[in-house]
Subunit: 289 residues, 6 copies
């Protein structure tokens, strides 16, 4: 999970400008120049914290000192001061909303991911909880990073990272074998290959053709179980990774986990986030003398 | 709610590139050049649709034809084909995820906003349901537009749009009166002024000083009721707009609405979105002859 | 009047590159590396100084020390050293023309604005002298800021800041009432409304409909006087601000001012600027040893 | 005078966005979608027209038809319709101010340049009236082009175009000869060399050293006359071009022209522009049926 | 080998502007507006052609028609017209040098790659000739594409594409095993792993640890032979791909090829290119009537 | 040879990102945070070094200390440490390839240029060895600078720098005289004029018309000799500079040099570069304690 520092700064600056526009006219009018402020960032409900790393970069870009009181990934109780900031009052108040919006979303994702990771680890610590590409537009990096901080697995960041043959691709190619042949021909470098299987037969076929990962897509727990059994029977199970994806909910989650796939991936981790409540409170303001 | 067309295109392009990176290597390998595809965008659960306008712009940028089957703001049942696309197969499959991510989020917001608007209208059709600035970073325009399409009110898009004196500003200025005086001095153009009141006294003071809107912030229904009563008693109620904000939930929502404020605003509308399930399905693929 | 610091730096850098292109080949050839220079910026005619704030930012971007000897807004006599700069000789000479071009224009605007403000204050200190949007393309911020420094009022910076219903809008809407109704419908946030009135009747109509400002556009002093009288007679004068605009010259200026409008606005303040003569003179050059 | 088409479009777009910001909220609210408008651009005072070429590009970028009724460089009487535009009403009204600001400034410059060119041609048609680099920041291309359209000479567009040794350069180099030697050494391509001479002696020295142009800077007509006489006496006059610059006014203009220099350059042509009054008037509006 | 179309256009535009600057002043002066030109692009020496695809995009951006007479990858004899262009004379002449510079370099690379591919295929058609990351700065895409067109293998486009553990990495990690462990820990998605081995022992160790590719770096043919023999002896040869890299020349090339590695990679393919001579010749010019 | 510092930084950053993409995943995984590294840049074959200035800027942008052990332009023997770098290990390893690619190419060009300059100086030290515009796309500045560091002459950097009338221009204009007339008319500033002559007659004609440089294009040594003789006979030789260009090789180089032209220009200097072998070797790595 790497984003060039400069890119990260540009993203954060863009977030800030989106909120500020030409200027925070209220703060500009009311807060005198060179007012020094000490403020606390306070968690209002129990959560796994995420986003402090990013927020730190933003405050430092603004010349504001940022003191982490906890670390990204920590599980923290309600009422905790997770960070303090000190510096130019205009800048802190102007950036407040942008900072909180980012922390609230990332912590929301990390909290949910952590919950699922803990549950799955009771069954088998080797199973990975993964995100999908169903992230909020423009927030791929932040959403994926929050999943990792929660203990999950990022999966493909972008379409150029690995091959993933989906239903529509198979339709167009005619069959899995043909799709894989085309990938073989086009490839001028080495990237892994995953195939989405809607049926046991597809899964077996993909595994026999030597793909790296077979994704069991939108299968019921029963279908998934039968597919995995078949793969084992044919001595293919250990040659491929198994990913289960599609239609996984808190209710049916365990039924899939007991099948001991390598990966369980959920779109809801990033497309239906519940923000964690966090606020920024000014503790002290020193006006310029 | 205006975004320059060019800016919108740049945003959509950015979303697409975030997902695609250097290229959709799977699609590039498997889908032959000049394959023409017809695909349907299908709603999987009842929802208020939002984002078709934006998605249309994106497909047109790619030279893909886009046929809306419903309109943004329509309430649509599960299973409905909300749009069809026809054009270059490589481009449609490459853009699929970006398009769905946008539609799913915007429709999720519009659906929730519509629900609240309908509820409040049973009590008083003049009360407006408003969004806050608690939007996902980088998605201000899209989140706010979805609220409007749902029937809600956008409120400040950015910090430069109007004055909103918050608790921290009052702390620094010492008192509301001083804060408003500073706004008066700094202003070289005409923008509205809102003040956040935590107490009945602050609300009265702000109204007496002639602000445009008083926001009752994090008040219980009882406190809010008393404040509004006091404003009426002092003949100030009709001189200001009343906004209620902070801590509003589906449970306590009605208790606030019966006070007949001008505006009820909720952060959750945009910070804790539940995505609507939507998929893209290839119906026909014509390979180049 | 806020411009994000980063935006200002970008603008100044753009100005500089426009003049420099690939490089100041003369200075690069002649001035040895690490030559340290002390230079004075000298005013050649009496003026209100403006632009030192901006020029300071530019020099600091270049690593050159900038010492203000007067402040933006000061009225200064011919021959005054308004600032000194010290630093790398190549950079100072390369930036010279860009710096002077900016100072000369901004001081020209501030000087003219100050003259009008002083005149109007003899009549009524509450009347504001305002700029229009008739600024040099690309120089909106700089031209408006110069007006403010001169003591004037900036007025709308951009079309998105407030509603201003002009003649053409009324023509298309059919009547003022319809135009205002459309504004009411479209608005998802709170911005002020001004209407341009060419006749007494339009002015009355606009005021009755509750707009914030009525602009008396291209009226003769007599027409303007009658209009204001009518508004007073109808008890509307104190409910709206009155702006007089169009065709105002040094000659007829007083005839309008005596009507005691809230605002008098003049395009000539920014579209027909007389530059103030300012030069940069090298005082000392220390070659590298 | 070349500006890449793409650069020109970017400049015009920047001008437009500066004025529009997030959107022309008045026009967006009042003018219905797909309203077709015919409007005239009308000259309000006699002038040499300039800027139609640029404005045409802007309107075409917006999909608006632009019909020139006169050409850039034409001398036109008050009341003339100089162009008509037809197309989307929203776009025409939104662009109105930007378009007029550009036309008014460029026509103002062209008109003044033409006046001087005509005067000088009575004395000697070979003398060129030239602009300096004292243009409005960001408007170099537009200001210089207006001078050319008026019949003048653009001179250096940027510092990288030719060598111009000024007083400060000579101070640092010690003497003209040394400055020219350094230019010789640094040059890896062939660009012309001009030297600014404050005295007769400097002018002679520069001419003897073989520079391409000698600029007589801030000389009185008498000093300039003596300098030119001396150059002739030494058989140097025909070997260099003579440029007179600095302190030239309408009053003393002829005293310099009679000396028959090659070039007379004036900063006031571009730093103290009087805008020409031009307006845009909607003639017909067809609402969508 | 994918580059987004928009990125490609930006790259080509950048190349063009680098050469043109503010404008091709010679062509602008001499070629009348609307002169229509037919020109031929002629190969002056035998070569494998490459770059026509890119050049076509550039000409189309300029509105010039481009007719390929051969295809990228064709082996063509001296004197062949490889393409014709028809359109605006100004644009064709202005773009000439940029177009030729690109074609000459890309064809040079493709020609050399083809030569090596043919040689190696005599020995074993499964061995791939690969490029390295030793491309000209800014030309990665173009250089790699030329290698592919020549019949070679692109290898890693960028550092984010796959893991390649080099000597310095091993030094810092202490040993190969530790380096691979760190990769395992850091990885949140699936990318292939290659290890650079300087000795037989390192090669064996890497293969035993299950890496995807072992690169024999700067080994003599003898060392490489022994290493491959050892891998076979340990039953590891078929489990990894073998790449030979470093110090390969036309002279020793065959000694490596006979070892039947999977890949032979050469930096010289892209860092020491011999341009192919190609020219553009105007055949017909139709002046505007 | 000037490139604005900011432009240079942008170019270098672009080169780096081209190679790195989203991140150097190998280095990120293996090298611990805050590992301090000392590395040497070592020359592997005798060469004239070039590119240290640029590489220094890149390392400084990354916060890495750069110590030159030799200077650009020095002739250095194989095995020499030409620079040392010290700083963050992640950054040094990530930038390694970009840095070496630049140094290897620029040193290759400088080495070849120096060789030719030395040869020509044996014949006549006043003859200049010049580059053409046949540089690698995007590398104009770097290629030209390497030629200068090698002792050569940069010639036109871009098409806007000077007039160069080529064969195609003459064809379109009809004759040289007409081409030069058009240049005269179009010019609003002073730039030098060169004409490409394919025949003795053209050369004479151009010289008589007063151009600054005559280029003898693709002439055999004999033709060139006759042309120069004819120019001398007509007393034109000293009035123009003579450039010989086209088809010059190491074999025929001397035959042209003995004609004592002012300039000999060769495309091969920049279009067919042989990279110099240079490597970066980590000497010491201090892990964070």
């Amino acid at each position: 999970m790497i984003m060039p520092k400069r890119t990260l700064r540009n993203e954060l600056r863009r977030f800030l400008r989106e909120d500020v526009g030409q200027g925070d006219i209220t703060t500009e009018a009311i807060v005198p120049k060179e007012t020094n402020i000490l403020a606390q960032i306070v968690l209002k409900q129990p959560a796994v914290i995420c986003g402090l790393n990013e927020v730190k970069v933003l405050f430092e870009m603004l010349g504001v000192k940022f003191f982490e009181k906890v670390k990204d990934g920590d599980e923290v109780s309600a009422g905790t001061v997770i960070a303090e900031v000190e510096g130019d009052g205009k800048k802190i108040l102007t950036a407040e909303r942008t900072v909180l919006n980012l922390l609230m979303r990332m912590s929301g994702i990390a909290t949910e991911a952590r919950k699922l990771v803990k549950e799955v680890q009771k069954i088998d610590p080797k199973i990975r909880i993964a995100a999908t590409r169903k992230t909020a537009p423009g927030l791929r990096y932040f959403d994926k990073r929050a999943v990792i901080v929660g203990g999950g697995y990022a999966h493909r960041m972008r379409l150029d990272e690995a091959f993933l043959v989906k239903d529509n691709h198979i339709t167009i190619a005619g069959e899995i074998k043909e799709a894989l042949k085309r990938i073989q021909l086009s490839s001028h470098s080495s990237k892994r290959v995953e195939v989405e299987a809607k049926t046991k037969e597809q899964a077996v076929q993909a595994a026999e053709l030597g793909v790296d990962i077979v994704m069991l897509d939108n299968m019921s727990p029963k279908e998934a179980a039968e597919t995995i059994k078949e793969l084992s029977a044919r001595n293919l199970r250990h040659k491929v990774q198994i990913e289960i994806s599609g239609g996984i909910t808190p209710e049916n989650f365990v039924s899939y986990a007991v099948l001991k796939p390598d990966i369980i991936s959920l779109g809801s981790l990033t497309h239906s986030v519940r923000a964690v409540d966090i606020s920024l409170e000014v503790i002290k303001a020193n006006l310029p003398s």
